[in-house]
Amino acid sequence: MTKVVTDEKEFIAQLLDPKTQNIAFQKLLSDYQKPLYAHIRNIVLNHDDADDVLQNTFVKVFQYLKNFKGESKLFSWMYRIATNEALTFLNQKAKINGVTSEALQNKTIDNLKADVYFDGDEIQIKLQKAIVTLPEKQQLVFKMKYFQELKYEEIAEILGTSVGALKASYHHAVKKIELYVTSN
């Protein structure tokens, strides 16, 4: 564990040093682009939007690196930026279209069937529709636990909540989803 922390401190130092910055940032990109893309795509659902949000996320990570205090892990700090970027993006898009965030997500799910970057059938669509009915926090917890298979401790660090509260949230989410799928 100590080794991991030291390695991370060294890596952050490399990211801040102008001489090593480029190589370190390339490594950061290659290590995190896929998990962060999956996380963002699960929130915004559509590839083009996920691409925009992921780019903004990395640009912000680069800009705010000098303010990174190392109080949390680099991984959870980046996930937090990605989550905020994705949720802000969704709210702004809903506002522009003059609809609620839930209505916008439902519309996006309907469009998924025609999306070339979506390879799913009825059950996937039904699951996504069930997730949209959940409160925002439960949606996030469910997606991070079920799809991304993150540990509760990791999710707790990203969302700033206790593991106990997360387990309760996930449990409620699963119950509601099961109920939705059974009745639809």
Partner: protein, 137 residues
């Protein structure tokens, strides 16, 4: 209808895909965007700062014009004492030049101030050992 149980069913994948070479080109795209922002944003900010500083400098100089003018005017006004000292010690003016400049009013003033008291005159005459010279003159 049988109740659906998520844990009893096979895991449902998201079904989300990306274009084939998406992650190969992604880092280049991000680095490009970071460089573009650095090139575009920072000079604009610097330029604004330079313009603001120029405007501030011009305003300050404009405000200083009356102060400078005032200072120069004051410097040109010679006070009486300085003039007197200059005339007494530095100039080539002699007694006759000064006399030439006197008018009748000045002469009247001089004669008044020269008028001596009777007692003072007596004192001078009595204490002066060369009184005879004075009388003969």
């Amino acid at each position: 209808m049988k109740a659906y149980k998520l844990e009893n069913e096979p895991k449902i994948a998201t079904g989300f895909k990306t274009p084939d070479d998406y992650f190969d080109n992604f880092s280049t795209k991000v680095l490009q965007q970071i460089n573009d922002r650095e090139v575009n944003v920072i000079p604009l900010y610097k330029q604004k700062k330079v313009i603001a500083m120029l405007v501030a400098a011009i305003v300050i100089m404009a405000l200083m014009i009356p102060i400078i003018n005032n200072y120069n005017n004051k410097a040109k006004d010679l006070d009486e004492a300085t003039l007197e000292t200059y005339l007494s010690y530095q100039s080539n003016l002699n007694q006759y030049d000064l006399i030439k400049e006197l008018d009748s009013k000045d002469i009247d003033k001089l004669s008044k101030s020269v008028a001596l008291e009777q007692e003072t005159l007596e004192d001078i005459l009595s204490s002066n050992p060369n009184i005879e010279n004075l009388i003969s003159e």
